[in-house]
Subunit: 456 residues, 2 copies
């Protein structure tokens, strides 16, 4: 549609400037020292929604960080689209690995480098700008609601309560979320599944104090060694997860589904070259695409214990720790898996140490329908913008809100993501392509248009 293309090219500089302003807020929800910045970010988002033309804009307080709400209801007989996104970001460390400061957005080869560029500031803000266009050009075809939260990166702990308490206000016909990736600008795709998550922190305690490794070494259990042995035992020689019952509820894909998935373009040599590894890794009997998208996983996200400073210290540490997360697939249950992990991990601990397992947060896996009006509207919109039919893929990430919405509001979601797997989400040098950003803004009004038409 030429009109939106023209609007975008006429406003490109401003669209980028506003996004940069948003990216400069270090809205790291995991780290208390950024509390003020996170709150400021919510206020900024509210202001931008208002400027774009939203009514009843509100920064809704929660037990944690606020949720920004806004809406434009034009006709109760028209369908309603609820846009979800999050304004919080992952921690930026290790800072020394960033080529440019994480909160000073910088453009290189057409990419915006900044923490949150793709996850999710750059992606939810496309909806704000697309909404601005639809308002200013009288192109809004349906009712629209926005809910932008600030705790997605720490498990959306307070969103559940908010949703339960605001069912009326949040009622809609579909939820659209841009927080996922497509295969490439040449090959658009739509994620139709998301993995769930169980995140735990483990603490292994040996002696009640750090000890001299010469005086006590060899005679007292070293918690770092024991933790290593325990972690080592969590995968068997085929890299299956060795927690009894872990796979019990996993729904295996049909051969047809596996075939379809593996038809997505994937070059293992490129994959290895991009990551700088000599060999790929994973569960025996599955392809890389399946391992990363359709199989449950267990990953050590962090491990520490003893002396980790400069030089050498001959200490036998009192404690060792690890942060461990498990990605879940339909129809595993987050709480159940956390329980299984906890009892297994406590069970394998030798008597020479004490073990504590603290659940962090979780989320349920989901599969989004490909036969819905919303999916077809997304297909049509992407086809028109990219000139190619999008293909369905399975995403390895987790957006717990999707399952929550289905459960609490009975509303299905369409994952209209414009990122790329190579965007370095959660990593140093996170980036988002300027083309992805602008094409996203062009695509969104088409989605609303086709969703409204197909709903008739």
């Amino acid at each position: 549609m030429q009109k939106i293309k023209d609007y975008v090219s006429a406003n490109t500089d401003r669209f980028l400037a506003e996004l940069f302003e948003l990216l400069r807020f270090p809205s790291v929800s995991a780290d208390p020292k950024f509390k003020e910045d996170v709150v400021k970010t919510a206020a900024f988002v509210a202001q931008k929604l208002e400027e774009a033309g939203a009514d009843k804009v509100e920064v809704c307080e929660t037990a944690g960080y606020p949720i920004v709400y806004g809406e434009k209801l034009i006709d109760p007989n028209l369908p309603t689209v609820l846009v979800y996104g999050h304004y919080d970001v992952q921690p930026a460390d290790p800072l020394e690995l960033w080529d440019t400061p994480p909160f000073e957005p910088t453009v290189r080869d057409g990419k915006i480098y900044a923490r949150g560029a793709a996850d999710d500031k750059g992606q939810f803000y496309m909806h704000v700008k697309a909404f601005e266009y639809m308002m200013r050009e009288q192109e809004l075809p349906c009712n629209i609601k926005f809910m932008i939260e600030g705790e997605e990166e720490v498990g959306s702990s307070n969103l559940g309560t908010f949703v339960k308490e605001n069912k009326e206000r949040l009622s809609a016909d579909v939820i659209v979320i841009s927080d996922t990736a497509m295969i490439s600008l040449e090959q658009p795709s739509i994620e139709t599944g998301l993995r769930g998550l169980s995140y735990v922190e483990v603490e292994v305690t040996g002696p009640n104090r750090d000890l001299h490794s010469g005086v006590y070494g060899g005679a007292v259990a070293n918690p770092a060694t024991i933790l290593s042995k325990m972690i080592a035992s969590l995968h068997d020689e085929n890299n299956h997860i060795a927690i009894p019952g872990f796979y019990d509820d996993v729904v295996e894909l049909s051969d047809a589904e596996r075939k379809a998935l593996n038809e997505a373009p994937f070059d293992v040599e490129e994959y290895k070259a991009d990551l700088g590894v000599n060999e790929i890794w994973g569960e025996a009997g599955y392809s890389s695409i399946e391992r990363a998208g359709t199989r449950p996983t267990l990953e050590v996200n962090g491990i520490w214990g003893g002396y980790i400073g400069e030089g050498a210290k001959t200490v036998l540490p009192s404690k060792a720790f690890a942060k461990i997360s498990m990605r879940l697939v339909p129809n595993q249950n987050s709480a159940r898996i956390t329980e299984l992990f906890q009892s297994h991990f406590e069970g394998i601990a030798p008597k020479s140490v004490k073990v504590k397992v603290t659940p962090h947060h979780g989320g349920e896996p989901v599969v989004t329908p490909t036969d819905s009006i919303a999916y077809k509207a997304a297909e049509k919109a992407l086809h028109e913008t990219f000139g190619k039919m999008p293909i369905p893929t399975r995403g390895g990430g987790s957006i717990p809100i999707v399952a929550l919405f289905e459960k609490e509001l009975g509303i299905k979601t369409v994952l209209l993501g414009f990122g790329l797997d190579s965007d370095n989400l959660h990593s140093p040098n996170e980036k988002y392509g300027i083309d992805n950003y602008l094409k996203g803004i062009e695509t969104i009004p088409l989605f609303h248009k086709y969703f409204t038409e197909l709903s008739k």
Copy 2:
């Protein structure tokens, strides 16, 4: 000997005040940020040696931290004792586990709490004060030399060169070192063996950047998981070290030696209670005393990788690290063991990661003679001060200088240590008993006296 007893009681307050002044210097040799303090400590030690009556006091520059030298030569026909000690200390972290600041010495129930209180400031300073007494009271029976270094806690990297270049200046009949422990004030003992050390740092690299554990998890090797598996494999199910050739050069103790060692008072229940562990740990077939003193060990001194900050981050780390030290026994060789470790560790690395092993520092194991004049003099002196015959023990710690001296100068060492295993060396709340300090000062002149007499 009443005279020294009287001198000590008359000067107790000053002896403590001077030690406290010495303990207030944060002379942490492992951490560059304390560089200035370490250098200041050397100057303080030199000044105190001079005040005590030493000649030719010199702060000898090295490629690293300086070595403080001083001497009193009264007669070439009399024997010469060389006193070795170190003025540097271990890092104090984790700071939050200290009940009182590590560099603000505090007395509780007759113990001096401070980093370095026992290791080694409190112990080498006894020799400075005993020397002061012998000078002021005309009780110095032989020639005496002092060499106090500042890099013991980081492997005495520059001492070797210094010793080679100063053989004449350092010539002596015996070396006496107070940097070890005795069983208790009721049961004096003399360490007759020290373990050697190989210290390495390992780095395991997976992908070339931190990755989103949802997008890549399950499809790329996680270096923290791989490092855990590699560390886990370094001990077998009997807690033997599983590095081929590791035990090849180990000299097994005779049944008689094992019997003698195990006669030292040891209460496993007290041991467990003191450390707060439910079960002891160690190599099958050996007692705790043997494990901690006579067997080689491999300990993880530190491990880290991925996100170790507040909250949760779903990252698949690019790198994971560990600091690993091995304690060696006669007649293992530090360089050889480091080589064995390196080739084994690189050998067991799966192709999906890259491994780097960096040797830190090492030291050779030693056994000190029990049939020497020096040992007999020490026995006699301790017997007189403590009213009980000291028994020989094997220490688990390492003082590389002992082997170095034997090799370079051909001089044997006697380990006249007054600490206790419970002094929390290298741990938070390091302490040294005031009685140990004062009784040490009383004992040292007796050692010089008997050593001189027995040498005739």
